[in-house]
């Protein structure tokens, strides 16, 4: 599959799993004839029929609750939230019921909740949020965010096959801004495994989602200054790939924790906690966090630009850390 966009990678990943396994179905608002707000389910209702591609009423909590019930009774639901921000409307069903079924009564919930997340599209406070943390923080849930088309396809397939509830966060800015050649084989990308996106020796940038690309851009520029950056793309946020996180931390000894999400309570803190506890002796400088400031996501371009972590900021902080 030559030059596959991120959105197309997810779409074909779902498609293949639906072909492979009759118990997989898609449910959400406008996923049928409309093909979803971002067209991830385009063409599916025509191919698989209304039985397996189900338009719902405007009811996020019922969608999640029903998905969970269907999973209990033997199906493998893929739920689409129109925007990740509105998952908040199903928060109780996700965190209090779906997440706890296995622990409470040994009941597997093989369910994927897909949600377009993230900013840089002038979506403003309600259509740009990065919502991973409440789910990362809920035992029983897995949380995934791909940065590339390859991972998007491999991770959605692995998530669908997983027997735990997976929150699958799609970065909406990446939908159509990244592409790559994909193998024609039936590949998956295992959950819980990060990936070195660039090998380096001076500083590690640990990140995920859109910020992987920002980190790679910064790394390119820093290479010109003779600073060698390693970029670790987490891919799965829960469970975290602690081993690889500690490996890169011990390797470079200087770490930048980068995310698009706001700073306080963001994943950067968790990563800092892991590293400052388990790789403390290897550190040659402060753990530097780069994240959005603690505000809602602003709408207007100059504000959003100031809000989102930028390549410049990464370059500057990396230079500072390099000299530390």
């Amino acid at each position: 599959m030559a030059e596959t966009t991120y959105v197309e990678a997810i779409r074909t990943g779902i498609w293949e799993e639906m072909e492979r396994d009759e118990s997989v179905f898609v449910m959400g608002e406008d996923v049928g004839i409309y093909g979803g707000a971002f067209k991830v389910t385009k063409g599916m209702v025509e191919h698989f029929g209304e039985r397996r591609v189900v338009d719902t009423p405007l009811s996020e909590s019922a969608i999640v609750g029903a998905g969970t019930g269907a999973a209990i009774n033997g199906l493998r639901p893929i739920l689409e939230m129109q925007f990740a921000d509105f998952m908040a409307c199903g928060f109780d069903q996700i965190t209090n019921f779906a997440a706890k079924c296995r622990y409470r009564w040994g009941q597997a919930i093989p369910m994927v909740i897909r949600a377009p997340a993230g900013g840089n599209i002038h979506g403003g406070p309600f259509h740009s949020q990065n919502v991973e943390m409440p789910y990362v923080h809920t035992p029983g849930l897995k949380v995934v965010q791909p940065a590339t088309s390859y991972d998007a396809k491999g991770l959605i397939k692995a998530s669908i096959r997983d027997n735990d509830p997976v929150i699958f966060l799609e970065h909406k800015y990446l939908y159509r801004s990244v592409k790559e050649d994909l193998p024609d084989t039936d590949f998956t990308v295992p959950l819980g495994k990060s990936r070195i996106q660039r090998d380096g020796s001076d500083i590690s940038i640990i990140t995920y989602g859109w910020m992987v690309h920002v980190a790679l851009e910064a790394a390119e520029r820093l290479a010109e200054n003779g600073i060698s950056i390693e970029v670790l793309d987490l891919r799965t946020l829960m469970p975290l790939d602690r081993e690889s996180i500690l490996r890169t931390a011990k390797k470079t000894s200087k770490i930048i924790l980068l995310h698009e999400d706001t700073l306080t309570g963001g994943l950067g803190g968790e990563l800092a906690g892991i590293i400052a506890e388990h790789a403390f002796d290897y550190l040659d400088g402060p753990l530097v966090r780069i994240a959005a400031p603690d505000t809602p996501v602003p709408f207007s371009e100059p504000l959003e630009k100031a809000f989102l972590p930028s390549t410049d900021e990464v370059v500057n902080k990396a230079q500072w850390l390099y000299r530390f």
């Binding site: 009423p57 029903a66 969970t68 019930g69 269907a70 209990i72 019921f97 409470r104 009564w105």
Partner: protein, 332 residues
């Protein structure tokens, strides 16, 4: 006494049906009393203590219609539904005592119990949340073309929750096979119905979804049995959901620590006279001259079962603290 096969039961004042109902109602009543009035006070129960005293007719009259492929989502006042599904008193007692062999292996709190194998979803504590979940269970039945149904149980208070609305609406739109049993016991904790809603009957609320409903005397197990039979017939034949409002009363506080002072004395007295177990017994005497001795024997039988179950449960081990982190994920 073992439960007669459901298929053999017919609606009518059928002796065998009455005996079966009486058995399960008594078993629930006595088991809950043992838990609340004895074991709880002895400090053998962990956590708070909720019972369905006075509401036994609802789970019994309905769940007797369930088939193995059906699913149930009981509320915290429906212990008899679990018993009818074959969950044993000793498993329930071990659950309440937080033992390793309880239904949730000590993971969840006493009445938050259920069992995947017997198709009972453990009570979902967030009131109302079971309604969308029932929808999904039913969706899977429809998806596979089965004629199984879901029995969903909630209270009056649940009808104020957003999930209740979203779930009923979705079930109606998708024509899902669900029998809803609503126990309208006039209170949600201390909140009386008139602070919960401006209308009088929850059944009236259901017409907002295009779901057929009926109102029954929630203390009359035979009435519930009859309504459930109609409901199940409707639902199993693919006609979509059906809602039964059971007018009843919580003969206890919200839980063991609640003296329910907020309930007017006359109201309580009036309802105590309608105890569903006594009502059934009276009916049995009237309709086919049932012998008082049968009641005494049934009760004795039930108490013996419970004694045995209590002894078993008390001898059960507590969960091993080393297992505390198990079973959060399949694999990680």
């Amino acid at each position: 006494m073992s439960a007669p096969a459901v298929a053999e039961l017919r609606l009518a004042v059928d002796r065998e049906l009455c005996e079966s109902c009486l058995y399960y109602m008594l078993l629930m009543r006595e088991l809950e009393e043992r838990i609340e009035l004895k074991l709880y006070r002895q400090g053998k129960i962990q956590g708070g203590c909720y019972t369905g005293r006075g509401q036994e007719a609802i789970p019994v009259g309905s769940a007797l219609h369930s088939r193995p492929g059906d699913w149930l989502t009981p509320s915290h006042r429906d212990m008899a539904a679990l018993l009818i599904r074959g969950i044993e008193p000793r498993e329930i007692l071990a659950q309440y005592m937080g033992r390793a062999t309880g239904l949730t292996h000590g993971r969840d709190g006493n009445m938050h119990m259920g069992c995947a194998r017997r198709h009972c979803v453990p009570i979902i504590s967030s009131i109302g949340a079971s309604i969308p979940v029932a929808g999904g269970l039913a969706f899977a039945m429809q998806y596979r073309g089965e004629d199984n149904v879901v029995f969903n149980y909630t209270g009056d208070g649940a009808s104020s929750r957003g999930d209740w609305h979203e779930g009923l609406n979705m079930a109606a739109v998708m024509n899902l096979p669900i029998v809803y049993l609503c126990n309208n016991n006039l209170y949600a904790y201390s909140t009386p119905l008139d602070k919960q809603m401006k209308i009088h009957d929850i059944a009236d609320r259901v017409s907002a979804y295009g779901i057929p409903s009926e109102i029954v005397d929630g203390n009359d197990v035979l009435a519930i049995y009859g309504a459930s039979e109609r409901a199940v017939a409707h639902v199993r034949s693919g006609n979509g959901p059906y809602f039964i409002e059971c007018k009843t009363f919580r003969m206890s506080g919200h839980s063991a620590h609640d003296p329910a002072d907020y309930v007017p004395e006359e109201l309580r007295a009036q309802w105590l006279r309608k105890d569903p177990i006594l009502s059934l017994q009276k009916r049995m005497v009237e309709e086919f001259g049932a012998d008082e001795q049968v009641f005494v024997d049934t009760r004795k039988k039930v108490l013996e079962e419970i004694d045995e179950a209590v002894n078993w449960a008390l001898a059960q081990p507590y969960p091993d603290p080393a297992t505390v982190e198990d079973n959060v994920y399949e694999s990680i």
